[in-house]
């Protein structure tokens, strides 16, 4: 019962993060869309590393690849690497203050963006948009709120 409950909470939050990632925004704002999926995945990795780690990240990244129509596997690769980094340091990350965590999130978001670009660059003709890295800033700014919200959810539903 309890396991089913926690699974559904985690997957519901990941589902909403996916939706937020593909919901259209005006062209000017679009570059500043926070990396919702990464924030959500990293939170669950830090909080429940025995439940959410590389496997989940790979699956969700693959779904995002399909939804965005990019080369299959690009975001799966990026998400797996980022979540591996978070999962192998989860004890340290848990003890950081929220703002320190936000800085780490910025680094992780940069890593994921770089991996995505490199992977695409290897197989396709791509140009890097000028504002490609701007969304890292919004990811950093949004992290504390995502963190607080998900923590509240986790405590309320007793997700373990």
């Amino acid at each position: 019962m309890k396991i089913a409950n926690s699974r559904s909470v985690v997957s519901a939050s990941l589902f909403i993060a996916l939706l937020l990632t593909i919901i259209p925004l005006p062209l000017g704002v679009d570059a500043y869309r926070p990396d919702w999926l990464l924030l959500c995945l990293v939170y669950w990795t830090i909080a429940l590393p025995h439940r959410v780690n590389v496997g989940v990240a790979f699956t969700v990244g693959l779904i995002l690849d399909l939804l965005l129509g990019s080369t299959l596997g690009v975001r799966a690769l990026a998400m797996s690497i980022v979540v591996y980094l978070a999962a192998s340091n989860f004890t340290r990350l848990r003890n950081f203050s929220v703002w320190q965590q936000a800085m780490v999130i910025g680094l992780l978001a940069a890593v994921s963006k770089l991996v995505v670009f490199w992977a695409e660059y290897l197989v396709n003709v791509v140009h890097m948009p000028e504002n490609y890295f701007h969304s890292i800033i919004t990811s950093v700014v949004v992290w504390p709120w995502v963190f607080l919200l998900l923590r509240k959810l986790r405590r309320q539903w007793k997700v373990t």
Binding site: I23, L25, H50, F58, G69, G73, L77, E120, V126
Partner: protein
């Protein structure tokens, strides 16, 4: 105290597995053509999510339809009636011109041009990869959409179908960096290829010698070469022409006639020759 990672492979092993699998996926997806079949099924599997993401905008649309006032509607109807009258009047002469054109083509021995089957598709409000210019439309293989199908709208060429799902498909826009469309200059029939530049409002026309008679403002239409796009649809207008001494080719840029950043309704075209 719970074991941290429980049973199963260690974290490093999992990462290794994920990396290997995703690199294999990237390589097969990029290089193996037969993978498109697999993509169709996967694409169909996630299309409910796309419909879900599209819902807020659909609700907004229907709401704004609901709150339109009577006088606004009346104005719209009047404007549409006028437009219909005008286009009907144009069609009167159109008919005789078509006949005449057909006769002349028959005299010249060139193949007759037939009307193509068209279908209206609506763009779904779904975001795409930042590296490529794609849009998602609400028609798929169930409607007969096929890969490589030309897509236009009321102004000109938009792009071609890139991958098909059962109820949605992706359209690659002509401005994508990997897209090229064979064109000719309407004024003097010079042939060229318009490549996407990766920017929505610019196409590049490479490999034109400097002696080419081309000038700013020229309209480029599809040439029909390559057999993918039917002949004669407008593609872009030349906005920039420059030749620098010492360079082998002139630097030519064009702007798509379609405003690619604000698309809404598209037309899928089934060319006569490649009906499937």
């Amino acid at each position: 105290m719970k074991p941290i990672f429980g049973p199963g492979p260690s974290l490093q092993l999992r990462l290794l597995l994920a990396v290997v699998v995703s690199i294999c996926l990237i390589l097969t997806d990029a290089n193996v053509g037969a993978f498109a079949k697999v993509r169709l099924y996967l694409h169909s599997a996630v299309s409910p999510l796309q419909y879900l993401a599209n819902m807020p905008r659909q609700m907004m649309d229907s709401m704004s339809d609901q709150v339109m006032t009577r006088s606004q509607l009346q104005q719209q109807v009047a404007a549409l009636r006028q437009r219909e009258l005008l286009s009907r009047a144009e069609q009167l002469t159109m008919e005789s011109l078509t006949k005449e054109n057909e006769r002349l083509r028959a005299l010249l021995g060139s193949p007759l041009r037939r009307d193509n089957r068209k279908m209206v598709a609506e763009i779904m409000a779904v975001d795409s990869d930042p590296f490529s210019h794609q849009v998602v439309i609400d028609k798929g293989s169930l409607d007969g959409v096929y890969e490589g199908q030309p897509v236009i709208n009321d102004l000109g060429v938009v792009g071609q179908v890139h991958s098909v799902g059962s109820t949605t498909s992706r359209v690659l826009l002509i401005s994508d960096a990997s897209h090229g469309v064979p064109v000719r200059v309407l004024r003097n029939d010079i042939r060229a290829i318009a490549h996407g530049s990766g920017e929505l409002n610019r196409l590049d026309i490479p490999h034109l010698p400097r002696s080419t008679d081309i000038q700013e403002g020229d309209l480029l239409v599809t040439s029909g070469l390559g057999g993918r796009f039917p002949e004669g649809y407008p593609v872009a207008t030349i906005t920039f022409y420059e030749y620098q001494e010492g360079k082998p080719y002139a630097d030519v840029q064009a702007q798509p006639v379609v405003a690619l950043e604000r698309l809404r309704y598209l037309l899928l075209v089934w060319p006569e020759s490649s009906r499937q």
